[in-house]
């Protein structure tokens, strides 16, 4: 078992990487690279949960880490890759809104997240207390990505990245939720991915592209 100070530094490193990856996703135009970034984010999450599990000796966190590895690092990126290939969308990229402004908005969100998490972090007695702000920031950056993108696939990746942030929040604030809840959440994420996969095909069938610009008929009020 490593010393708490050392593992706490490792976790902080992971948290910083997560935040960096969130910004990378925010500015990435190519869909396939975005999937890889998402897988890397899942990998970082896995490492950080492993470190927390190792340094605190919480056995159920190992299961939680295994769940993350299987779902977020292997299964979901695999499904996304296959979907994108089958849709023939692997070379697609999308025009972003003004990148500097998006980045600036992202920065502001991070500051906001830190301010919001500040009083709570002080109450935490876990080794990971400083990272709750980062977890919230990851959630908010994913949210920003969903708002600024117009492609169905990228919105979904944003949705999944948000789930990553939430898992990180659960580990950093409380050493993970009860197992039954984590399993339930993981099941929901997996099922939603399957349903979204079906959806992609429906959308393309009806609109001839995965661009959500075409979806504006229901905008009367």
């Amino acid at each position: 078992m490593p010393t708490l100070a050392f593992s706490s530094q490792l976790i902080n490193l992971c948290a910083a990487l997560l935040l960096l990856l969130s910004f990378a996703m925010l500015s990435q135009r190519r869909v396939l690279t975005l999937v890889d970034l998402f897988a890397m984010q899942g990998g970082t999450l896995f490492v950080s949960i492993m470190v927390v599990a190792w340094s605190t000796g919480q056995p159920h966190l190992y299961y939680s880490a295994a769940l993350t590895l299987i779902l977020k690092v292997i299964l979901l990126p695999l499904i996304l890759h296959r979907l994108i290939r089958r849709l023939g969308a692997q070379w697609e990229s999308e025009t972003l809104l003004n990148t500097p402004i998006t980045m600036l908005a992202g920065l502001l969100l991070v500051i906001f997240a830190f301010t919001l998490a500040q009083p709570i972090s002080q109450l935490a007695n876990t080794v990971t207390r400083g990272t709750l702000g980062i977890a919230l920031a990851v959630v908010m950056l994913a949210f920003l990505m969903m708002i600024t993108r117009r492609k169905a696939v990228t919105q979904v990746i944003g949705f999944l990245a948000m789930e990553n942030g939430l898992f990180f929040a659960a580990t950093s604030a409380t050493y993970g939720m009860p197992m039954v809840v984590e399993l339930g959440v993981a099941l929901d994420v997996l099922v939603s991915m399957v349903i979204l996969g079906i959806f992609f095909f429906h959308i393309r069938e009806q609109f001839d592209s995965l661009d959500l610009h075409n979806m504006e008929s229901l905008k009367e009020d």
Binding site: L116, P119, I120, L123, A124, N125, L136, V139, F143, M146, A152, Q155, F159, M162, E163, L166, A169, A170, A173, T174, Y175, M177, P178, M179, V180, V181, G184, V185, L187, D188, V191, S192, I195, L196, I198, F199, H202, I203, E205, Q206, F207, L212, M215, S217, L218, E220, D221
Partner: protein
């Protein structure tokens, strides 16, 4: 045992209907499963009345007067909706809008949806409550896009993304709640998310964390309740999905989401000892009421009209829960009940009317009372009921809410009256034109199922004139629990 049947039957039903759903008699099997679920609900209720609250299966499930009445309401509306969908979907198949594969998907997902609703209501674990709410979104999203038209796919996508993002906020709130609870209860044996345990120690939970948690949970579950300004998905999902789905979305899903909010509010009020939670709910409630009432005037589509009316009524119920106190809570519970009954029966009649007219555009639906008197009268009576005309039950609950507001929050009374008045004008003028007037609409190939409509309206009428003492005692007990 009762609980096992209640949860097991719809789950089994969804598997069974996934296997045999293409058969001619699948709709009847659907009705049968729903009837079984309703019977289990009645059995469970009888048990709770006789023996008091239940806490079973390692305290993972908890039944008290507050959720048991929602359980029975949910299973009852599940049953009536399955009765209604039988001729409705056959007619859709006859018109060539749906094929057998889609019907199989519908029946299987319908049962699964009922399962998730009942799970959300009966679970004692706040985390499982979240899982069940998310699962409810997942089961209904494919139902909203059942027709595979561009508009329905767009509506389903919007529904999925907005509710997914909303529920992610609720999960963050749940994590914060767990974080606060873990300090008091410890994380051994994972009792820290069990509502009964949380309720016992709510006085010791950290107020700053809980108030932040409540904001996240209110925004999250509030998205599913359809509270303004997070209501955007609701009218689209109601208008573009098949009508039985609109009926269960309005009649059940919104109630269960509001139930989740109220469960959170009980914990937060015990911890924070200020009116923060109540004030937030009152604010969101009033905003939804007024915004929906004004947007009602702009609607052209009949299902969108009644979807906005659902937002309005959920706003009223949220406002009442926000005020708190025995009378307002009693009224809010009654309002949830009568709104569910009335709104789902309205959607049933609207479903038949739109099938007859072949359109959902209100200007093209005319003279229902001459072409099919029962549908016409059903629509007229349902509309009068939902608008809060005496002697229907909605009048009683709205009246109670109004007088409580006058006494405790006089500033809110004019806003409430304004919202109700504007909504009345908007809905009544439209429906009146649809029911009366000249017409030459064809007959339906399958006779409409109007028994559930009139049965539900009769119940609403009864609740307006006379609330059985059992039920009243029950509401009072639940209102006391909510505080």
């Amino acid at each position: 045992m009762e609980l096992l049947m209640l949860l097991g039957l719809p789950l089994l039903g969804s598997l069974l209907l996934a296997l045999i759903g293409r058969r001619e008699w699948a709709p009847e099997a659907n009705v049968l499963m729903s009837a079984g679920t309703f019977a289990a609900g009645v059995w469970l209720t009888a048990h709770v009345i006789a023996h008091g609250p239940m806490l079973v299966w390692h305290e993972q499930f908890f039944i008290d007067p507050f959720n048991v009445f929602l359980v029975i309401l949910t299973s009852f509306i599940g049953l009536t909706t399955s009765l209604f969908s039988r001729p409705y979907l056959r007619t859709e198949e006859h018109h060539g809008r749906l094929n057998r594969r889609q019907l199989r998907l519908y029946h299987s997902m319908f049962q699964l949806f009922i399962f998730t609703m009942l799970l959300a209501l009966t679970t004692n674990n706040m985390g499982i409550l979240w899982v069940a709410m998310e699962a409810a979104t997942l089961t209904t999203v494919l139902l909203v896009s059942l027709y595979r038209t561009p508009a329905s796919i767009e509506a389903a996508w919007k529904y999925f993304i907005l509710c997914g993002v909303g529920l992610a906020q609720a999960l963050f709130g749940t994590i914060l709640l767990y974080f606060a609870a873990e300090k008091v209860l410890g994380n051994a044996g994972s009792t820290a998310l069990l509502w009964t345990h949380l309720n016992e120690v709510k006085g010791q939970l950290e107020p700053t964390v809980l108030s932040l948690a409540f904001v996240f949970m209110l925004v999250g579950y509030g998205t599913k309740v359809g509270l303004a300004p997070l209501h955007n998905w609701l009218p689209d999902a109601h208008a573009e999905g098949p009508t039985p789905v609109s009926a269960v979305l309005s009649g059940l899903l919104l109630n269960v989401a509001l139930y989740a909010v109220v469960r959170c509010k009980v914990l937060v009020e015990g911890s924070v000892r200020s009116d923060l939670a109540g004030n937030l709910m009152m604010g969101f409630g009033l905003l939804s009421l007024v915004l929906a009432a004004f947007l009602l005037w702009r609607q052209k589509d009949i299902k969108r009209l009644f979807a906005y009316s659902s937002i309005e009524h959920m706003g009223i119920a949220t406002f009442a829960f926000g005020m708190g106190g025995p009378v307002a809570n009693f009224a809010a519970l009654l309002h949830m009940t009568v709104h569910s009954l009335t709104k789902s029966s309205l959607f049933f009649t609207v479903g038949h009317a739109t099938q007859k007219a072949g359109t959902q555009v209100m200007d093209k639906i005319r003279g229902l009372i001459t072409s099919n008197p029962t549908v016409g009268w059903g629509l007229m009576l349902g509309t009068l009921a939902i608008l809060g005309m005496p002697p229907f039950g909605v009048f009683t609950s709205e009246f109670l809410i109004l007088i409580t507001a006058m006494r405790e929050h006089p500033w809110a009374t004019p806003i409430l009256l304004l919202g109700l008045g504007v909504a009345f004008g908007a809905i009544f003028s439209r429906v009146q034109a649809m029911v009366f007037g000249e017409t030459s609409l064809p007959r339906l190939p399958h006779p409409p199922a109007l028994v559930p409509v009139f049965a539900q309206l009769a119940l609403v009428l009864m609740l307006g004139l006379y609330i059985p003492p059992h039920l009243a005692a029950w509401y009072r007990e639940a209102a006391r629990l909510i505080g």
